[in-house]
Symmetry: C2
Subunit: 350 residues, 2 copies
């Protein structure tokens, strides 16, 4: 197979971990005879520094005309604490999600056997947990109108959803549940929010087409508790943008490290793959960032193009790395391995 | 002391647990020579059933003209799954919070020594954790304009905040931090939301008056993770309404059961005390609901009026109940004690 892949390393540890993902893909390409052509482009704080724009035209065009996007991380503290910043790195990512129509962000959560003791949660709580979060990615408060009055004393964010936006991701989530344990939990705050009530109504309607999938509802406050109390109860979780952001970071604790979690963002035409961790600026350039989430994003990319065997080889390589404790310090505080060594191990295993 | 206390048992298990809180207060009154006069009123689903209004005029008037409100729980599944319901139980609670101006909801999180193994989190993670969440309670998406178009295909919720709303709760949170370990963490999503950027700016400004308190910021997705990874890092958490709702339910896992957590909601003139758990309709009338959160709400009420010695007696009684395993099945699955027995134990101990 021939794939043209846009690579956006982004900020902080992004470039370091993306390098390891690329190495894994190169190795796969060689062994299984695929041609992966990578083209790098700027996004995020680094793009602001170099061009003034967090998502330069050129980057957007590249991403629109490519088979898939591999993305690192975004964000820089110099923008976070400046409420007056006119441009922010995150705007680049949000605009990219919107322009590529990446409405569904899919985040699988499943602990590795050899890491069952690495989680802050007890082994018996997490052993056997295996669920996937479907987070809506191009709507809600992320994209609604924002206001700040002239005096800077009053601000607002509008959270909006339409039936259509909910329907399309609900179908994906129900289809996924059909291929899994046939349970879908929709998370909302329908006792307070109008948008949540619409989510509930539309999801119920969509569910009629999937009579083999059991549908239930949880309020987001309760869900945030249940994910820790009893993660095994979940199969597929479907939720809106901001709730999905919060719950999926939270759920990462089940696996022992957010440095292990990859995600796929899908649209009608485009697809982007990224680790769910952020730019972790304190770790930048220190060869300590965990590259596994980024490598697993590459595996999700392969799966997306039907290369299941190849994706599996990556999953196995990662499992071996974890089993042999070739991991970064987030997983083993006294580890002598860094970003590079973990990446090397994985691509050598392939 | 003479206190007039409005009692709103509300829905589900509300009446059962409130009864135990009243018993504890009666016992305190007798031993320490205080007169607590209780007046009951309707709120929630039960108020809708009886009057059509989740917060009848009479209830509101009572609450406005009383020293404090003791509240049980609200909510009924028959409304949750009906997106077309015109009135909802929760509207009663939200209206009450607004009308009483209860802008600060304070939720202390601290595991009991004898329950360190009851949490899904490992003992070493939670041992020593001790923090308080200050949740803004009368603003944000809970109270902003809501829309649903005529076709029922598009909905919106507006999240709004003003400098004034943020300032007043920030002062309370900083004052609390001064009396604790002098650390305040503000939780927001300033990389995406305009209201969060206002929160950050205003909190920084308020912090200038509290130079002895260290201020830091966390994005809400990261905070949801950090509360589980390392709860000991927190002292005071300050956040907006919806984030506070999610994070405080989540944080309840540290204590082993949400049935242990009480909260105080404070305004300029009024104060309301309630367990943070919901109406738990499945448990209604079965004598299995944990009354401790409700009893601890009563203790918070006493503290609010300066009755620290009396509050302490309740805290001790609750600790004894837990130590002697006189607890409900949420804390000890094979327990033979119910709501009533736990409540009896506590008030007898007083
Ligand atoms: C960087 C930030 C804007 C982003 C989000 O909130 O969507 C990140 O947290 C994520 O989850 O991908
Ligand atoms: C019942 C509901 C409206 C309420 C809230 O979301 O505020 C509850 O969850 C709480 O935390 O007090």
């Amino acid at each position: 197979m021939n794939l043209k892949i846009a690579v956006l390393p982004g900020d902080g540890i992004g470039p370091e971990v993306i390098l390891q993902a690329k190495k894994a893909l190169y190795a796969i390409g060689e062994v299984y005879n695929h041609e992966f052509v990578f083209e790098e482009a700027l996004m995020g704080a680094i793009a602001i520094d170099k061009t003034g724009n967090p998502l330069p035209e050129q980057t957007l065009n590249l991403c629109l005309n490519t088979d898939a996007v591999l993305f690192g991380a975004i964000g820089d503290p110099k923008y976070d604490n400046n409420p007056n910043a006119k441009v922010r790195p995150e705007q680049g990512l949000l605009k990219l999600r919107k322009e590529l129509g990446l409405f569904a962000n899919i985040r699988p959560i499943k602990p590795y056997k050899s890491l069952l003791d690495a989680s802050p949660l007890k082994r018996e709580i997490i052993e056997g947990a295996d669920f996937t979060i479907f987070r809506e990615l191009t709507g809600g408060a992320y994209f609604g109108a924002k206001t700040l009055n002239e005096e800077g004393t009053h601000a607002s964010d509008l959270c909006e959803y339409s039936e259509e936006e909910i329907t399309r991701i609900a179908h994906l989530a129900f289809k996924s549940a059909q291929n899994r344990r046939k349970k879908l939990t929709m998370v909302d705050k329908a006792n307070v929010l109008e948008t949540s009530r619409l989510w509930r109504k539309v999801t119920k309607k969509v569910s009629e087409g999937y009579p083999d999938v059991a549908l239930d509802f949880l309020f987001v406050d309760n869900a945030a508790m249940q994910i820790i109390l009893n993660p095994k109860q979940f199969d597929v979780i479907l939720t809106e943008n901001l709730f999905g952001d919060i719950l999926s970071d939270e759920a990462s604790v089940i696996t022992g490290s957010i440095g292990l979690l990859a995600s796929a963002s899908l649209g009608e035409k485009n697809a982007l793959f990224e680790p769910i961790h952020g730019s972790y600026p304190q770790a930048k350039g220190k060869n300590i960032a965990n590259p596994i989430a980024s490598i697993l994003s590459a595996a999700m990319l392969l799966e997306h193009f039907g290369l299941f065997k190849e994706a599996n080889v990556i999953y196995q390589a990662v499992e071996k790395a974890i089993e042999f404790k070739v991991v970064t310090t987030d997983l083993k505080p006294d580890s002598k391995f860094g970003t590079n060594e973990v990446g090397e191990f994985v691509s050598n295993f392939i």
